[in-house]
């Protein structure tokens, strides 16, 4: 990797790690995993299902909140506080800055997911007393959650490159909600006719398909996931992330820093 991108990514990671708000969110997510143990204990015969469902949902939701919360400020905060001036007056290209910021945030989320996943596996061991072969599928669900974070990070950066933090948060969260129902939107497009069909189909394929990345229920029910799905989701997430990042770079390359 380009060294400057690595330096910017490391600094972004350091900023996130030193941000106290992040710890509040992580503590809250771990608390929710703890609650999963309690709920699991009073759920006769479905302890595992409840722990996996609640634990992975907590990781996903809090990760998305962290991705949006930090992602929307990555560029706009640097412009507002003028910290960007002393970075871009060095031999740093604007695209390197955006890509470095993305990797820094993505790295933060991967590390967070790792620690929260330890919490979920701990809770699972506590209620089930042992791991089964089907639990390996949880790793696939976690991988999809990370892919989801990459898309959210890139979208937050895209919005952050031209909009205020508040509007960026609204855009990113709206897209997350719509994207979580992307399958339903595609179903609606299939039933619609004429112009509405065109619009609905366009919208269904434009918004990120987070419903395809959400396999928490399947994993909780110990259903196996195909390698084909893993490949498809990986390619989709990489493609979407690259597109959103390219948009962010294109906008940021032309932006005057007043």
């Amino acid at each position: 990797m380009n060294q400057r991108i690595g330096h910017i990514a490391r600094n972004t990671f350091r900023e996130a790690v030193r941000d106290r708000v992040l710890y509040n969110l992580i503590a809250f997510a771990l608390l929710l995993s703890g609650a999963a143990i309690l709920i699991g204990q009073i759920s006769i015969d479905v302890e595992r299902l409840v722990v996996v469902n609640l634990g992975l949902t907590a990781i996903s939701l809090f990760g998305v909140v962290i991705a949006i919360f930090i992602g929307i400020g990555l560029v706009s905060k640097e412009i507002e506080k003028r910290t960007l001036y002393t970075v871009l007056s060095r031999p740093v290209r604007r695209w390197e800055f955006i890509v470095g910021k993305f990797f820094g945030l993505a790295g933060t989320l991967v590390v967070n997911t790792f620690f929260m996943a330890i919490g979920v596996f701990g809770a699972l061991l506590y209620v089930a007393h042992k791991f089964s072969a089907a639990d390996a599928q949880i790793l696939v669900a976690l991988y999809f959650i990370v892919l989801e974070f990459l898309i959210i990070c890139s979208l937050s950066l895209l919005f952050s490159s031209f909009s205020s933090p508040l509007l960026s948060a609204v855009f990113a969260f709206s897209l997350f909600v719509i994207g979580s129902f992307a399958d339903d939107l595609r179903g609606f497009a299939g039933m619609a006719h004429g112009f509405t069909r065109w619009i609905a189909t366009g919208a269904a394929y434009l918004v990120p398909n987070f419903s395809a990345l959400n396999v928490i229920t399947s994993v909780a029910h110990q259903q196996s996931l195909s390698m084909r799905l893993v490949m498809q989701n990986t390619l989709y997430a990489v493609f979407y992330t690259v597109m959103a990042l390219s948009g962010a770079v294109l906008i940021f390359e032309r932006r005057n820093l007043k």
Binding site: I8, N11, R14, R18, P91
Partner: protein, 316 residues
Amino acid sequence: MAAIEILGLEKSYMVGFWRKRPKRALQPLHLTVEDGEIFGFLGPNGAGKTTTLKMLMGLVFPTAGSARILGREWTDPEVKAQIGFLPEQPYFYDYLTAHELLDYYGQLSGVPAKDRKRRIDEVLTRVGLTDVKGLQLRKFSKGMLQRAGIAQAILHDPKLVFFDEPMSGLDPLGRREVRDLMEQLKQEGKTVFFSTHILSDAEALCDRVAIIHKGELRGVGAIEELTSSVQGKVEVIWQGMQVPASMKALGAECHVTGDRVRAVIAENQQDAAIDALRRERIRLIAITPLRTSLEAYFVEKLQAPAAAGKTAGVNG
């Protein structure tokens, strides 16, 4: 080779909500800064100084024009490895310590790891922040932040340094230290381009200055040229409280202050004045050409109509 050649850089912003119209922040600017000089970019607040600096740093895109820095196109990323920049009222990553901040900037500037620690220690000593190098910047005062800003600007040993209002937020001692630092940079062969609206700083430091007002260049020149004896008069100072009749006869405007008399006479009457004082056995203290102060020149340029100001004194 000129350190900076600004070739007609101009900037307009679109203003208005419904019907956007261009508003010129900077008229086409032509300016040359020579290698190794301290160049002052003077103007009142809102004159266009920061806009010019931001364009040279690639932070704002010009509407038209171009520039060359250290002999290369100003957009060339390699140029940026050889320049340092202190923005106005700098704000840095406040979760970092001074040492971490400089280490990060050193990495971005391409300072090799083996030299970085030594360079950081050197510049921290130079700006007087060694004792607080482990303190997070969120605990820094405004003056300390300004010093950290200066440190990051010179960390990578640049050939050309841009300072935007470098004395801002500093106490008198801090201002003196920054002035000394800028003079040291000049002695090391570096070019210093700094913007300010504090004329005494410019007068004390600069080889040449440019005056900008309302986005328009009003004058450029060496301090000695701009403050030259344009009136053709000299100031004569002698000891005593009396004004000899022979001095009055020369048409001298005399003012008595304490035990000294200060008289202003025409330059061609200088010898006659010396003879008159000798005849009266009065002790002469000084004869100096009467100079226009930089402040007077500055005010004159700001008050002059735009077109008139542009032509007078522009030689950069």
